[in-house]
């Protein structure tokens, strides 16, 4: 056996509640031993990780890939490279490509391109309705056979409760998990930011909290009725957090995530009409943000990227005309780590919400334990750099840290023992 030896890393593994400076030995893509030399074999390469943190690879429960269909915004290769640089070993791609991922051909194309690119592994989300129109069921069984890990309708609505019920029943038949976005379009349509004092002052049409909570109530009741395995994507409201808690107390098996942006920013960021902060779901109030952070701390929420790369022209427009979304993959982990440096989350809480919790949603395991796949990030908290457009891997430069100093850096990322960054 020939081993990769990572020496003197601070190993943080929330699943085993490990946080200690130790050595890791890797062979055949797996962690052979932790904290002790293997009995036999030789060391092929040693990485001196003194001062660095070794954490499980991040898993994203929802990011937008611009391919196929939106080559002006980037490619599968560019975005998976950016994801790897941000610390992700796995990313779930939302199905709103062009054409949408409602056929096995599109799902296979995504998998092939991602595999060829060789960065983060893509776990495609298939479309749950044809063309994401929210009317006819997509061939969910075929899509999952092709490699889709779950079905989603992105943020496109399923307006009809009947259709929603039937597609849950159908998915439940084959134990296909659904990723559902809580968005009542009749209440959110036309809105471009959180409804509240900032929207009122700026004269921007608002999206009320009830656009999310009413849809969430509908989803939770139908999940209870149909027994489908459901994950709620991208919740943003304090009220949604308590509704989910209630559902869990009632024994419902649902999981949920919130986009990183909603943990870092509030609707106040829109002051000044910076179209960067035009995102869907919208940034909400400080009360909402605090409630989301606390839910993450309690382990109730995973953190997703909602990565949405855009070309310059898509964002260079009056606020409500700009395309919503932020490019998030580059520098994702350092950005998330600001929640730790602000002392809003412990590093264990943050890492769990980015690895173990999403792994659990997908039925995977992401843990730094002996015998496990070596999916891990070496993070250097002392390093510092400026995120410039030319150095970004993503085709979308609509990143909140563009041209700013990023504290902390992803040094290396391993997927099944191979370096992808």
């Amino acid at each position: 056996m020939r081993y990769l030896h990572i020496a003197n890393a601070r190993v943080i593994n929330p699943q085993t509640q490990t946080d200690e400076i130790t050595d890791v030995f890797v062979a055949d893509g797996r962690i052979a031993t932790l904290g002790r030399r293997p009995d036999a074999g030789e060391i092929e390469h040693t990485i001196d990780a003194t001062g660095q943190w070794l954490i499980p690879g991040l898993i994203d429960l929802g990011g937008h890939l611009p391919e196929p269909g939106y080559s002006q915004k980037g490619s599968i290769a560019s975005e998976t490279e950016a994801a790897a640089r941000g610390g992700f070993t796995h990313i779930c791609s939302l199905p709103d490509t062009k054409p949408v991922a409602d056929t096995s051909a599109v799902v296979k194309l995504i998998l092939e391109k991602a595999s060829k690119a060789g960065f983060s592994r893509v776990l495609p989300l298939g479309a749950m309705t044809q063309d994401l129109a929210g009317e006819q069921l997509a061939s969910m069984y075929t899509l999952s056979e092709a490699g889709a890990v779950a079905m989603s309708n992105a943020r496109r609505p399923v307006r009809n409760s009947y259709v929603l019920r039937r597609l849950m029943e159908y998915a439940a038949t084959y134990d296909i998990p659904l990723f559902l976005n809580a968005n009542d379009l009749s209440l959110s349509d036309g809105g471009c930011m959180h409804e509240g004092p900032v929207a009122t002052r700026m004269g921007l049409p608002g999206i009320p909290e009830t656009a999310e909570t009413i849809a969430l109530a509908q989803i939770l009741l139908l999940v209870e009725q149909t027994g489908v395995r459901a994950h709620i994507s991208q919740i943003t409201c304090r009220r949604s957090v308590s509704m989910l808690q209630q559902a869990l107390e009632n024994g419902l098996r649902v999981t949920a995530d919130t986009p990183l942006a909603n943990l870092l920013y509030t609707h106040e960021a829109v002051t000044g009409y910076d179209s960067l902060y035009n995102v869907q779901p919208p940034l909400r109030s400080e009360r909402d943000r605090e409630a989301l952070v606390q839910a993450v701390a309690r382990g109730e929420l995973a953190i997703s990227s909602n990565h949405s790369p855009h070309e310059i022209a898509a964002k260079k427009a009056p606020f409500s005309d700009a395309e919503p979304g932020m490019s998030q993959y580059d520098a994702f982990l350092p950005q998330a780590m600001t929640l730790v440096s602000r002392e809003e989350l412990t590093v264990e809480q943050l890492v769990r919400a980015l690895s173990a919790t999403p792994a659990n949603v997908l039925g995977l395991s992401q843990s730094l334990t002996e015998g496990a796949d070596f999916n891990a990030v070496l993070y250097d908290p002392r390093d510092e750099y400026t995120l410039t457009a030319s150095e970004m891997a993503s085709g979308g430069h609509n990143h909140p840290l563009l041209n700013r100093t990023v504290a902390g850096k992803v040094a290396q990322v391993f997927l099944e023992g191979c370096r992808i960054c």
Binding site: R201, A269, D274, A314, P318
Partner: protein, 329 residues
């Protein structure tokens, strides 16, 4: 998070664009009114033109049609001796940011000095000033629901000329506050200029959420809202509000919020009645009030030109190199 005033003011605090009344100091708002006052005096002369903007090119860039507003800007520019170009740019549904930016860059290349912008998107004027053509003075002639600062300032001038001062006055704004850029600009200006109370009166569907955060007091009852008011500002009610589940009918709106002599009697006896026009008689205001003694609606129109001359001259001046305080004798 850019403060709107980092965009519209020079480093030494002078106006270089006029995008919003929000956050402008009382001194600056007063300076606008004072300058407008002196332009009113030039408007009373035989020769109404002053040579201030001679050789400058002003482009009226209206992405939304408004003949009335456009005409007052046109006249204001002409009375400042500027060259004026009117462009009505109908917006097609597919035209995204690119088209807007290309249009503006082309115009900038034609050595334009000032754009007067009307656009249906909130923040459009701000966007142009900040990101597209920072060296062209931008005057916001109405952006979405956000701001219509020249209209608000002409209303302030109207109040000041009729009531002496804005300080200490109770002002009620009645009607569709939710969609009104005029109301938002008025609220900011009134608060800064020291109004004792700014009230907004209308049904819950037409008052935006958290309007209190802007410093306005919401009233649902017209008579209670008008009690002891010095100034009553009626807003125009757009017909499409009846189609979007916001209002049942014009008739019911008039019954509840239409300004009649009977309702006006709740305000102070010397209260003035204003309306940015054009008036829907019998919908938001009855003719007896619109044409009555307390109405100053017609005066508002004539002040509009002076206010627009004032902000155009001030913003153009702010685009120049810093003021040299020495007066060459």
């Amino acid at each position: 998070m850019t403060d709107p005033n980092t965009v519209q003011l020079t480093e030494d605090g002078r106006l270089k664009h006029f995008l919003t009344t929000e956050g402008l100091s009382r001194e600056l708002l007063t300076e606008i009114l004072d300058t407008a006052d002196s332009f009113i005096s030039t408007q009373e002369r035989a020769v109404k033109t002053v040579p201030l903007l001679r050789g400058k090119t002003v482009v009226n860039l209206f992405f939304e049609n408004s003949t009335r507003t456009r005409s007052t800007f046109e006249l204001a520019a002409k009375r400042l001796s500027a060259d004026i170009l009117n462009l009505d740019i109908a917006r097609s549904a597919t035209s995204k940011g690119e088209t807007l930016m290309d249009t503006l860059w082309n115009l900038e290349a034609m050595y334009s000095d000032m754009f007067v912008v009307r656009h249906s998107d909130s923040g459009a004027a701000h966007f142009i000033a900040e990101q597209v053509t920072p060296n062209v003075a931008i005057i916001n002639a109405g952006d979405g629901r956000h701001a219509h600062p020249t209209q608000a300032m002409l209303d302030m001038l109207t109040i000041r000329r009729h009531k002496g001062d804005i300080e200490g006055k109770i002002v009620a704004i009645v009607g569709d506050i939710l969609h009104s850029r005029v109301a938002r600009s008025q609220i900011h200006a009134l608060r800064t200029l020291g109004a004792a109370e700014v009230r907004v009166i209308g049904p819950g569907t037409l008052l935006p959420s958290d309007i209190e955060s802007m410093g306005a007091v919401p009233y649902y009852d017209m008579r209670a809202g008008l009690a002891d008011c010095d100034v009553v500002i009626m807003l125009r009610l757009q017909k499409e509000r009846m189609q979007n589940a916001l209002l049942p009918s014009e008739g019911e709106f008039f019954k509840l919020y239409g300004l009649t002599k009977e309702k006006l009697a709740f305000a102070k006896p010397d209260a003035i009645v204003m309306h940015p026009g054009p008036i829907n008689r019998g919908v938001e205001i009855e003719s007896a009030v619109a044409d009555g003694d307390q109405s100053v609606i017609l005066n508002q129109v004539s002040y509009g030109i002076a206010v627009r001359m004032a902000v155009m001259a001030m913003a153009m001046s702010g685009q120049q190199t810093p003021v040299n305080s020495e007066e060459p004798a």
